[in-house]
Structures are given as structure tokens and as C-alpha cells.
Amino acid sequence: MLWRKSWLETRTRFLIGLFLLLLLAAGNVLEYPRVSALIPAARSLDTGGGALGGLIRKAVELQHDYRGFIWWQWFRQNLTQMWTLFAVLLGTGGLLSQTSGGAASFTLSMPVSRTRVIGIRAATAVAELLALALVPSLLLPLLSPAVGQSYAVADALVHGACVFAAGLIFFSLAFLLSSVFDDIWRPALMACVVAVVLAIGEQIVADGSRYGIFGAMTAEVYFRTGGLPWPGLFVSAAASAAMLYGAAINIAETDF
């Protein structure tokens, strides 16, 4: 029953996220013919020097084939950014934010431990986030024939799994902050700020995208070599576990 309660509490955020991501995934695939027609002209553009010029050249170069286009548009941008936003949103809420509404008293009067309550809440959100990473990504191989292309299911699964595994750190951060603040806005805002700072930082620092969290989420190393971004995945998993543990301790120690 706690599973159902957690589902009822998070389903609106999850379903909105799923709808938007499915829409974006379909849009990405159906946009390909138009983008591919522009690539030859884009290649002849003088993008100038500097980081921005380099980034444009890289984008044009990578998108000359369908696999590169999907990676650049979907896994590197749309999925990573939108999924991170919904990871933060699904990480907020929970017992402490229900204190002001009073429903926390009802939950806490049930014969279950607090650890179990928030454990199930976290597990529900994690399962939803896995679905948000995989389901829209699996739409790509399904829709690709519509534009005369194909995309490997294995690639969709591996990239989706990397977004999920590395990006869980943002969910865990929002979850930890939600065990400290009794509203949903401060944890959401703070976690989003951290995500933006990390994303910018990885762009600025040399090799940042190779070893950073977003680097692990976008899995450029898998796209280029077929290997997995283990350092980023390991760091994210360890940090996520530590933050979830911290949230459990916080809630267990809180006076309601």
C-alpha cells in the first residue's frame, strides 16, 4: 500500500515527464530529414574560432549520420536536460513537506518505520526515473523507420541506462534537500542550480565532459568507442548512495 501511496503522490510529475519526453523523442526523429538536408550547407559555414565555433563544428560533424544526430540531439541535449529536471522534481516532496499540510502525522501514525516510508518513496521515484530514461529512448528505434533510418535498440538502452545511472545524483540531491527543507521549492531550486553549475563547469574545464556527471550521462565515450563511462557512473552511484543514506538519517532523526 505504501507503494501505491508513493505512486499516487508522484504520478502527476512522472506522467507529465513521460508525455513531454515521448513528444520530444518523436520530434527528434521526425526532425531528422530537415536537419540532414541542412548539414551540407552547415559544413560550409565559417564558424570562426573559439569554444563556440568548435562546438558548432563538432555538432555539424557528428550529425552527418543518423546515429550521431540522435546522440547529439537526444542523448546529449533533450533527454539529459529534461530528465535531469524531472529527476529533481521527483526528488522533492515526501514526509517533511507534508508536515505543513498535516498529512505527515497520518503517515507517521501507521505501523511502519520512517526508513521504510521514505525507502519506498525513493524506490518509486527511481523506478519512474528509469522509465523516463528508457521508454522515450526506446521510441527512437521504433520510430526511426518512419524517416527511413534505423537505430539500435542496444544503443538506446545503453544510453538511456547511462542517463539514469549517472543522473540519479540529481534525484538524490533533491531527495536529501527535501529531508532538510519542509517545502518543495527550495530543494528543487537548489538542486537545479547545482545541475546548471555542474553543466557549465564541465563545459569550461578541459576534459570535464569526459569525467564529469553530465559526461557520464551523455556517454560520449560509449558513442565513440563502445566503452562505458565507468568513472562518472561510479562517482554518481557513490554520491547518490551517500545522499540517500543521509536523507534516511535526517528523516529518522527529525521531530515531526
Binding site: K5, F106, L108
Partner: protein, 299 residues
């Protein structure tokens, strides 16, 4: 031998920063009693209840329910398995329907009374398909009470169960409570600042003020023990120091000296007669008067 006390607190203390919510609260709630926990707003009633149910940890002292320590996480789960609770705000999950929250709650309690559930659903006229957020405060209170009563609980903890209700719904809720207790072996611990309803259904009371129990005992016994002794003098009333124990409060107003005694009124009257009053009147006091006298005496 089973502990005859369902709830016991000894020197229970709780501080929130520099604010002392409980300052050495001692309580004994015998099994099977209907225990009224009276106090003004902010007296420490809700804090006590939260400690008993493991929602808040005490700063010091001891709280035991069914003989189990309330501040140990494992025993707290066991305490809650055997306890029905209605919180002061009666907030439930607004996104659920009546039927959903009944099913949700029933799943945690193996002794859930399906027959009672059906009876209270009909008696309280609760719409099964209705969303909780659409329910009136009265209906929400009735639903919270249903969820507490049907658990097959040995202890009902009710925090201001009738606050915010109109008199008709208050009466309906109290009647349901009394009828339930009469048919089930349940201890009821309910907090209130509505003296009339405590007077109506409780058999034992504790009056708590500023985190301490200032009066506790069987209601009938308190009514027997407490007396107001009114002495009228020819001139100004003296300010005697009675040697007899049980003088709770004295008030001088012109020629009249009023003494509130909690025990041994006869000895106090004997001493009072030695002061040569013109008249001595001894009258019983109501729970409301005991409450007002003891609580205001603390000011």
C-alpha cells in the same frame, strides 16, 4: 503479569530550542479508561501525544505505551500497530478518495474491523468515491475517526478530536466514540481544551499546564475531593496560613476569603472556624472550575 497501565510517563521533558514544551510530565493512564487530557493551547498536549507515538523524541524522562518504550523505533512501530490515532488537524491524503484511504489504512492492520467500517461509513454518511480534498471539516473528522476506530486498536489517541466542529457534529462524534468504547475493550486517551466534552465522556483526567500535570485522577474522585470553602468575615478577610494540606488556592476579596481545597476539606474548615468567620460555606466544584483555578493559579 500484564502492566495495568496503558500509558506511563515519568518526568517527561521536551525542549524545542530554548522553549520547554514539557517540564517533567508524569502520567498514568490505566488500561480500559477514558482519559481526558486537558490543557490550554500550548500546554504540551500535542507534544506529549507525538512522543507517545514516536513522532517526536523526548529530551529527557521516560514514556511507555503498553509497557514499551515510545522512543525506541522498533517498539514504536509495535505501539502504533496497537493504536488508533486522530490528529488535531485531521489532515489526510487529499489526493485519495474515501474508499482509497480506507483500503490503504486497512492494509496495515490485520485486526481491521470490516463490519465497523461499513457501519461507520453509513452512520457518518461518507461518500466512498468522494475525494478527501472535497470533504467538509466535519466529514474529514468523521473519516479520521473511522480510520482510527476500525483498526481494532487497544488504544485510541485522539488529539482535540472535535476542534473546529459545530455542536451537532461534535455530539455525533462523541456519541460514536462512547458507543465504540462500550462495545470494544479500548483505552481512550484524548486531549482537549473543551472541558464540557471531557466532563461528558472521561472517567479519568489530567490537567496539564506549561508542560506539567497539575491535576490528575479519577473524575469522580476529583469531584469528591475538590471543594470551594467560602468564609465571610465581619471586617476584612484575614490572610491565614493553613497548616492542613490540600489548599490549592486562596483568594481574598473584601470580607470574603475563598479557599480551593483538593483534599482534607474538613481539616481546613476546622482551621478556618478558628478565624471566627461570620459564615462558612462549602460547595462542590465542577471540572471547569478545577481547570480554571489550577491553570490560572499557575499564572
Amino acid at each position: 503479569m500484564a502492566d495495568p497501565r496503558t500509558i506511563e510517563t515519568i518526568d517527561l521533558r521536551k525542549s524545542f530550542g530554548t522553549t520547554e514544551a514539557l517540564r517533567g510530565l508524569d502520567l498514568d493512564v490505566p488500561a480500559g479508561s477514558i482519559f481526558g487530557f486537558l490543557g490550554r493551547n500550548g500546554a504540551g498536549k500535542t507534544t506529549t501525544i507525538k512522543i507517545l507515538l514516536g513522532m517526536t523524541r523526548p529530551t529527557a524522562g521516560r514514556a511507555r505505551v503498553f509497557g514499551l518504550p515510545a522512543d525506541a523505533p522498533e517498539s514504536s512501530v509495535e505501539i502504533r500497530r496497537r493504536t488508533g490515532f486522530v490528529s488535531e488537524d485531521k489532515e489526510l491524503y487529499e489526493y485519495m478518495t474515501v474508499d482509497e484511504i480506507v483500503r490503504f489504512t486497512a492494509a496495515f492492520y490485520p485486526k481491521w474491523h470490516r463490519d465497523l467500517e461499513q457501519r461507520y461509513l453509513r452512520a457518518f454518511e461518507l461518500p466512498l468515491a468522494g475525494r478527501i480534498k472535497a470533504l467538509s471539516r466535519g466529514a474529514r473528522t468523521k473519516l479520521a475517526l473511522l480510520l482510527a476506530l476500525c483498526r481494532g486498536a487497544e488504544l485510541l489517541v485522539l488529539d482535540e478530536p472535535t476542534s473546529g466542529l459545530d455542536p451537532a457534529v461534535t455530539e455525533e462524534v462523541l456519541q460514536a466514540l462512547v458507543a465504540h468504547v462500550a462495545s470494544q475493550e479500548t483505552t481512550v486517551f484524548f486531549s482537549s481544551h473543551q472541558i464540557a466534552e471531557v466532563d461528558q465522556i472521561a472517567d479519568r483526567v489530567a490537567i496539564v499546564d506549561r508542560g506539567r500535570a497539575v491535576v490528575a485522577g479519577e473524575l469522580e474522585e476529583l469531584r469528591e475531593r475538590y471543594r470551594r470553602i467560602q468564609l465571610v468575615f465581619d471586617g476584612g478577610a484575614p490572610q491565614p496560613a493553613f497548616r492542613a494540606p490540600g489548599v490549592e488556592r486562596m483568594r481574598r476579596e473584601g470580607r470574603v476569603l475563598t479557599v480551593l481545597s483538593s483534599a482534607g476539606a474538613d481539616r481546613i474548615i476546622d482551621e478556618a472556624r478558628a478565624l471566627n468567620p461570620v459564615s462558612v460555606d462549602v460547595v462542590p466544584v465542577t471540572l471547569k472550575e478545577i481547570f480554571l483555578e489550577t491553570v490560572s493559579a499557575e499564572d
